[in-house]
Amino acid sequence: MKNIFKIAIVSIAIVSLISCQEDTKPNYQYMPNMYESVGYETYGQYEIFDNVTGGSEAMLPAEGSVARGWMPYEIENNNDGYAFAKANLVNPLPYSEESVAEGKELYEIYCGICHGTKGDGQGTLAKREKILGIPAYNDAGRAITEGSIYHVMYYGINSMGSYASQMTEDELWMVDHYVMSLKDKLDGKEARAFDVVEAVVEAELHTEEEHHDAGGHGVEGDAGENHGAEH
């Protein structure tokens, strides 16, 4: 009788131990100082920042700082700025196969969800009636241009937000190229021919690479890195 009683107590204790392992709390760690960084971890909470951000390591950049991969964009976010960008701003990137392909990839992540993969305003969110009234790129009233696309992606317009925090300047311009190609397609125009400039640069690079090979340079393929820097 006593034995049964003891067994019952032990089993209840075990069951309660197991069931107390909550999913809402992290597991305990063995020697936590091996796990926890001395440096500030991304999004970490630290006392030292209490007076700055309320403790969070994540904070806004210092005022006036220019993000890597960006140049200051001087056109203002108003109707005049929009009209100016629409008329004058030109895509600095060559219209090459690579930049359009990369633009397509980015477009399908960031834009296609509303504007549709064809640019007809029939993205998933539009079809599911979550966000309405998304125009097709060939909308006559808007008559978008390279410059106006960039301006709108940079600042956002009306219900559309800014995409400058998700992409770099170059990436925005690549998407710009792709949007223009979609617009041409919607208009039934012929696809724009890729610029030749890029091909020449490529050819030069390749001959350079061959020189490197002849010189017997490193295994890791530093020519590849050169290539990356060239873009």
Partner: protein
């Protein structure tokens, strides 16, 4: 005479016809009238052309449009001009047009020259539609709540019955024993029980074997218990805002990298800042309820009211005033609880896995698009990392960086495709330094 008469009547008919046609055509021309419009057709026109900036019953980028005809005293001519080209109307110095332009922060409305009078009539007819009366969802809610409650009740009743049974058996046993004692009957069971235990203790071989099994068993459990220390698989903390990956990534098929954009280019995948939420939630201030059918994401456990409250939390944190459709500038930090956290001594880079290797997010994070509450799917242990490095081939497509080394190493190992491990993915220094 007769001929002349005829000619006369003929020309008269022609002029009459022309006059009639002319009046008809003019009456067709500048006639926008909401009462002749078709609200159904207007709805689809409204959704494609106007809904980007206007809602019927709420201000958005532009004013709410319900009752706009009455607001402007059925001045259809003016409305038509405004809708087709408001900028031109403002430029003429029209007082009413300029007042609206100023009221809505000088936001220029797009031109809609392509809309016919009939189109505009249809749209205006649609703007006259009364807001749908929200039907009391009482019975619907009850039916959803009931099964949960009754299940709990049934379980509680079952538990009670079991407890009662145990108590009854215990009491019966006791009373029977008392009867036995009272009638002087001895219970012989005890002795036989004792003899079994004694026999066991006396048999040394049996004791040895059972001790070995006991030790092996406890070692097995101890090992299992110790190897889960520091492993947070299944960790699903309560977040400050209930964000449903099921709705966003599953139902609405938003790309992971839309919000976690730095996973493409940086070490950390990044918790999206609230401006990214507002990219969509500027227009989406509430969740579609059950009436939306397939487009609705609410279910029994999570109601529309519940989700709407969470969106309000977002608005509060980001300082968005719904009434004026502008930012107040009063923001609060949302303190998300980090789920996936590698120990300090292990280096992991998202961009290398996402952009270079092209691995699906789901490979490590599991079926996130089905998770209502985000949880850690993988154990994130070293064995788990290494296993994948052994099995996964290096993605070489369009990556000149790897070409040469791949050529050399594949010759060395005599394989066509290198795994990550063969490229050095098992070297200690790659992740621990």
């Amino acid at each position: 005479m007769i001929q002349v008469n005829r000619r006369n009547s003929f020309s008269r008919i022609i002029t009459l016809c022309a006059a009639f046609l002319l009046t008809l055509s003019t009456s067709l021309f500048s006639q926008i009238d909401a009462s002749t419009g078709d609200a159904e057709a207007g709805k689809s026109l409204f959704n494609t052309n106007c809904a980007a900036c206007h809602k019927l019953y709420k201000n958005m980028t532009g004013p709410s449009l319900f009752g706009v005809v009455q607001k402007y005293e059925e001045d259809y001519e003016w409305l038509g001009k405004w809708i087709r080209n408001s900028t031109a109307l403002i430029a003429t110095g029209d007082a009413r047009a300029n007042a609206i332009f100023e009221e809505y922060n000088q936001t220029a409305m797009n031109t809609f020259e392509g809309l016919s009078d009939a189109d505009i009539s249809n749209i205006l007819a649609y703007t006259n539609e009364e807001p749908p009366v929200i039907i009391d969802e009482g019975p619907g809610d009850d039916s959803t709540v009931e099964p949960g409650v009754s299940n709990n009740i049934i379980l509680a009743i079952l538990g009670l019955v079991l407890l009662l049974l145990v108590a009854v058996l215990f009491l019966v046993n006791n009373t029977l024993k008392k009867f036995a004692q009272a009638q002087g009957i001895e219970i012989a069971e005890e002795e036989t029980g004792k003899s079994i235990w004694k026999a066991f203790v006396e048999n040394q071989f049996l004791v040895l074997v059972s001790v070995i099994f006991l030790l092996l068993g406890s070692a097995y459990f101890a090992y299992g218990w110790m190897s889960q220390v520091g492993v947070d698989q299944g960790y699903a903390p309560v977040q400050p805002i209930h964000y449903s990956h099921r709705i966003h990534a599953g139902d609405n098929q938003i790309e992971c990298k839309y919000c976690h954009s730095s996973a493409r280019v940086s070490k950390t995948s990044g918790i999206p800042s609230l401006n990214i939420c507002m990219n969509c939630h500027k227009s989406i201030s509430e969740v579609a309820g059950r009436e939306a059918g397939d487009n609705s994401s609410v279910n029994e456990d999570y109601s529309k009211e519940f989700y709407d409250k969470e969106i309000q939390k977002l608005y509060k944190a980001v300082g968005w005033d719904e009434a004026t459709q502008s930012y107040t500038g009063e923001t609060q930090a949302v303190e998300w609880v980090r789920i996936h956290n590698l120990p300090d001594f292990a280096y992991f880079n998202h961009s290398q896995h996402v952009s270079v290797a092209g691995i699906e997010c789901q490979k490590c994070h599991g079926p996130v698009e089905e998770m209502e509450i985000m949880e850690q799917f993988a154990p994130l242990t070293m064995g788990w990392c290494i296993n994948c490095h052994r099995e996964t081939n290096v993605n070489l497509e369009g990556n000149e960086y790897y070409e040469k080394i791949h050529e050399q190493l594949s010759k060395k190992y005599g394989v066509e495709k290198l795994t990550a491990a063969q490229m050095g993915g098992l070297e200690c220094g790659k992740c621990h330094y």
